[in-house]
C-alpha cells in the first residue's frame, strides 16, 4: 500500500517510552521513604532505633504481612481487593481454638486454613467465573462467612488452653528469632518465589495486565483470577490461626481492620490497583513503611485514633501519586 514516495514525519505517537522519572520514582520511593522514617524516628525518640523496638515492629507486622502476600496477588491480577479478610481471619482463629481439644492443635489449624480457603473458593467462583464485582462480592461473602463462624460458636468468645502452642508461637527460635517472624518470612519468600518464578505467578501478571491477550494465549484466565482469592482467604485463615494460638482467645471481631491494613500496605508499596505490576517485596516494603510510621507515632505518644487518619491519608496520597505517575509516563 505504501508507495516509494512515502515521507515519514518523526512524531512519536505510539511508542510508550518509560519515562525515567517514573521508573526511578516508582522503584525507589518506598526504600527512600523507609530510610527517611528511620532517620526521623531516631531523631524523635532514642527508643526508636533499638533492637527491641524494631523487633517489636517486625513482630507486629507479621500477621498482617501474611495477609499482604495474598492481597498482592489479588491486586496484581486486577481483582481489585478482597474485603472478606476479617471473616477468614476469624474463621481461622475460631476454628483452631474450638477444635484443638478434640483433634489437636495442628490438625485444628489445618482445618481452619482449609475452611477459610473454602470461603476463598466461593469468592473465586463468583468473581473469576461469574465475573461479579469483587468489592461487593467479597463484602457479602465476608458477612456470610463471619455469620457462619459466629453461629458455629454460638456468638461468644472462644478460648483455648494449649499453652504449649501459645508459648511456641510467641517464643523465639534459638532465643533470637521470634517464631512468628520466621513464619512470616517463610510465607513472604514462598509468595515471592511463586509470583516471580512460577507459571502461575507469570500468569497472574499477564491476566492483570491484559486479560484478552492472555486468554488468546491459551492461559486459563478465570482460574488464575479465582486462585488469587483462594490464596488470600487461605493465608488470612492461616494468620487467624496464628493469632488465635498466640492469644488463646478468639472473638469474631478478631480480624477487624486487617483488610484495610493489608490494602494500605499494598497500595503504599506501589502495587497498582489496575493490575499487571508490582511485587511482594514492594508490598512488604509498603507494610514496613506503614508500620514504622505507626511505631513512630506510638513512641511519640500519639493515640491510636489519629493514626487511622494518617493511614487513610496515606492510601489516598499513594494512589494519587500512582495515577499521576502513570499519566506522566504516558499510560492511562
Amino acid at each position: 500500500m505504501s508507495d516509494s514516495s512515502t515521507k515519514t514525519h518523526t512524531v512519536s505517537v505510539r511508542l510508550v517510552k518509560e519515562s525515567p522519572l517514573k521508573r526511578y520514582a516508582s522503584a525507589f520511593a518506598v526504600p527512600i521513604g523507609i530510610v527517611l522514617l528511620l532517620i526521623v524516628g531516631s531523631i524523635l525518640s532514642d527508643r526508636f532505633l533499638t533492637v527491641g523496638n524494631l523487633t517489636n515492629v517486625i513482630i507486629n507486622m507479621s500477621i498482617v504481612g501474611i495477609i499482604v502476600v495474598g492481597m498482592t496477588f489479588v491486586f496484581i491480577t486486577r481483582g481489585m481487593a478482597d474485603l472478606s479478610v476479617p471473616a477468614t481471619v476469624a474463621v481461622g482463629g475460631i476454628l483452631v481454638l474450638s477444635l484443638d481439644q478434640a483433634i489437636g492443635t495442628i490438625p485444628a489449624a489445618i482445618v481452619g486454613v482449609l475452611v477459610a480457603g473454602l470461603a476463598g473458593v466461593v469468592n473465586g467462583l463468583l468473581i473469576g467465573y461469574a465475573k461479579l464485582n469483587p468489592v461487593i462480592t467479597t463484602l457479602a461473602t465476608g458477612i456470610i462467612v463471619l455469620g457462619i463462624a459466629q453461629a458455629f460458636v454460638g456468638g461468644v468468645i472462644v478460648y483455648g488452653d494449649d499453652t504449649a502452642a501459645k508459648e511456641f508461637i510467641n517464643g523465639r527460635l534459638f532465643g533470637v528469632v521470634p517464631v512468628i517472624v520466621l513464619i512470616f518470612l517463610v510465607v513472604v519468600i514462598a509468595g515471592h518465589l511463586v509470583l516471580s518464578r512460577t507459571v502461575y505467578g507469570r500468569w497472574t501478571y499477564a491476566v492483570g495486565s491484559n486479560p484478552d491477550a492472555t486468554e488468546a494465549s491459551a492461559v486459563p484466565v478465570r482460574r488464575v483470577k479465582a486462585g488469587a482469592f483462594v490464596l488470600t482467604a487461605a493465608l488470612a485463615g492461616f494468620s487467624g490461626v496464628l493469632l488465635g494460638i498466640s492469644l488463646q482467645a478468639a472473638r469474631p471481631a478478631i480480624g477487624a481492620g486487617y483488610e484495610f491494613d493489608a490494602i494500605t500496605a499494598v497500595v503504599v508499596g506501589g502495587v497498582s490497583l489496575l493490575g499487571g505490576s508490582g511485587s511482594i517485596p514492594r508490598a512488604i516494603g509498603g507494610l514496613l513503611f506503614v508500620q514504622l510510621l505507626t511505631n513512630i507515632m506510638v513512641l511519640q505518644g500519639v493515640p491510636s485514633e489519629p493514626q487511622g487518619m494518617v493511614k487513610g491519608a496515606l492510601i489516598a496520597g499513594a494512589i494519587a501519586l500512582d495515577v499521576w505517575l502513570r499519566r506522566k509516563g504516558g499510560r492511562e
Binding site: 464485582n133 461487593i136 456470610i144 485514633e305
Partner: protein, 347 residues
Amino acid sequence: MNGLRRAFNSDTFLGLVRYRVLVILVLAVVISAIVAPSILEFRSISLSLDRIATTGLVAVGLTPVLIAGQLDLSGGAILALSGITAIGFQEQFGQLPAAALGIVVGILCGIVNAFLVVILRINSLVATLASMLFFRALSHTITDSRPISGIDPLFGLAVSRPIEGTFTLRTIIFVLIIVLLHVWLTRTVAGRNLFAVGSNPASAEASGIRSRVFVFGTFVFSGTMAGIAGVIQSLSVNTGSPVFGESTALLAIAAVVIGGTRLEGGRGSAIGTLGGLLVMATLTTVMEFKNVPAFIQDIVTGVILLLLILLDRFVSSKKGRDVSWTALLRSLHRRRQTPEIERTHAP
C-alpha cells in the same frame, strides 16, 4: 435442559426478574405474615420503617452514586462524624445550630470524596475506602473513642416519636427525600443525564453532558445524606459515638442493589431503593421477632445480596427483551399486526 433454558428465557421469567423488587417484597411480606402475623400491624410497620430510616437515608444518598457508576463506602463513617458534631457542639451553639453544623460536616466530607475521585482521579472504591478510614479515625480522635452525650435527651424524641400515632419524623423525612429523588431521577433533565453519565460516559460527553460535574455532585449528595442520617441518629439517642454506622455502609449498598440499581451504573431507581429497604426492614423485623441472632441475620442479608447480583449478571446477558409494562401490553396488541421489522435477538 432445553426446557430449562426456555423457561429462563420466557418473558414471564424475565418480567419477574425486572420487577424482582416487587416480587421479593411481596414474598417477604407473605412469608412474614405466615411466620409472624403480628408484624402486619400498623405499629409494627411504623417501627420497622423507623428502624430502617437511618440506613435508608444513607441508601438514598448512595443511589445516584451507583447510577453514575461509582462507589461510596464512607457513608457510615460520615454518619458517625456528623452525629458527633451535632451532639458535641450543642453546648456551644445550641441544639439546632449544632445539628445544622453536623449536616455541614456531611457536605464537607462529600466534597472531600468528590475531590479525590473527580480531581485526583482516584478510583472511587479506593478513594472512599481511604476517606472512610480517615473520617472514622477522625471520629475516634475527636471523642477519644468514647461516646458523648447531648444536653437534652428529650429534644431528640421529637425525631423518633411517632407523630399523631402514624410515622416518626425520621420516617417522614426519609420517605420524602426518596420521593424527591425519584422525581429528580425520572423527570428532570439533569436526572436523566445522570443515567447517560453512568451508562456510557463517552457518549454522554460527546452529547455535551459534563460527566465530571455530575460525578462530583453525586458524591456531595451522598455525603450530605449520610450527614443528615448521622445527625438524626445521634439526636434521637442523644449520643454521638465514633462507632455508629459501622455496618451501615454495607446494609445501604445491599438495599440499593436489592432495589435493582446496578453496580456498573446506568440503571437504578429511588423507588427501587425504597423497595430494597422495605425488604430488608421486613426481614429484619421478622428475624428479630423470632429472636434470630444478629449473625444469622447477617448471613441472610449477605446471601440475598449475592443471589441478586448473580441474577443480575445472569439476566443482563439477555439483551433485546423488553419486559416493561408498556412493552408487554404492546406486544399483546402487536400479535395481531405484522411487525415492520423482524425483531432480532442480539447474538
